[in-house]
């Protein structure tokens, strides 16, 4: 079973690597951000699988931190590209 879970983790990581191709091809900042989001979701999946395969519980907490960082990266991206523009989305109105 551990072998299967490790293989599944490797497969998910390979899919994340495939997402990296989108980073390289671009063309826009949004595509790069999406690939970062892919690394977040795929990274959590791979880490959970590795943790289950090796019996390492704390890996789950690493996955949780990764989820948090991916979310922060997206918010920072939004702030960066919309910086100085009037906001019409309601998302940043309550500052």
């Amino acid at each position: 079973m551990a072998e299967f879970l490790l293989a599944a983790a490797l497969f998910v990581l390979a899919m994340v690597a495939l997402g990296f191709v989108r980073i390289l091809r671009g063309p826009g900042d949004a595509d790069r951000m999406m690939a970062a989001q892919l690394i977040g979701t795929g990274g959590i999946g791979a880490l959970l699988l590795i943790g289950a395969a090796m019996g390492v519980g704390p890996v789950v907490d690493v996955a949780l931190t990764l989820a948090l960082l991916a979310a922060f990266a997206s918010v920072a991206f939004f702030k960066a590209v919309t910086d100085g523009q009037p906001d019409d989305t309601g998302a940043a109105e309550r500052e």
Binding site: D61, L64, D88, T89, G90, A91, E93, R94
Partner: protein, 169 residues
């Protein structure tokens, strides 16, 4: 999340949120050590302070119990959405008819509509891209689908969980 005590909305909302954050912390950390519990209480208090500052109760409320009751619908829609995207991505001819669809909603701007936008972002073929005073704009993978009817059905299904607040901004 209903609160109608005499102590006023903010204290009731703060208490509810604190308990929610504390429960979340408990599930994630899973420790009963006194030191850990103290850190958890501090963390939950800080999270409550931040959430009251960023999302004051006056901007609207979410009834999580009602939302939880809708979770079978939500899970089923997540599955359909994943299958829909996978089908389009893997088909050789890649059937896409992408475009924007405007949706007029009865939900006022604020937390109620933001939560609705978050829920509907997992619906098959829709991602919310903008909203203004009259409604919302969705980007759809297939504009041939009955998108607005689907969204209206979801507004009916999830709307009871979304309590509009005073309009803000």
């Amino acid at each position: 999340m209903t609160r109608d005590g005499n102590e006023g909305p903010t204290i009731g909302a703060a208490l509810t949120r604190f308990l929610g954050f504390a429960a979340l912390w408990g599930v994630l950390i899973r420790s009963g050590q006194p030191g850990d519990l103290a850190v958890g209480a501090l963390t939950a208090a800080a999270a409550t302070w931040a959430s009251l500052r960023l999302l004051p109760p006056a901007t609207g409320q979410v009834r999580f119990a009602v939302l939880a009751a809708r979770s079978p619908r939500f899970l089923w829609q997540s599955i359909l959405a994943g299958i829909d995207v996978a089908r389009r991505a893997l088909a050789p001819r890649m059937p896409l008819a992408a475009g924007f669809v405007a949706y007029r909603t009865g939900l006022p701007r604020g937390q109620a509509r933001n939560t609705f936008a978050t829920i509907t972002s997992v619906l098959p073929g829709t991602v919310p891209v903008a909203d203004d005073d009259t409604g919302m704009v969705y980007h759809c993978l297939d504009t041939g689908q009955p998108v607005t009817a689907q969204l209206a059905a979801d507004e009916r299904a999830y709307g009871k969980a979304l309590v509009p607040g005073r309009a803000h901004g």
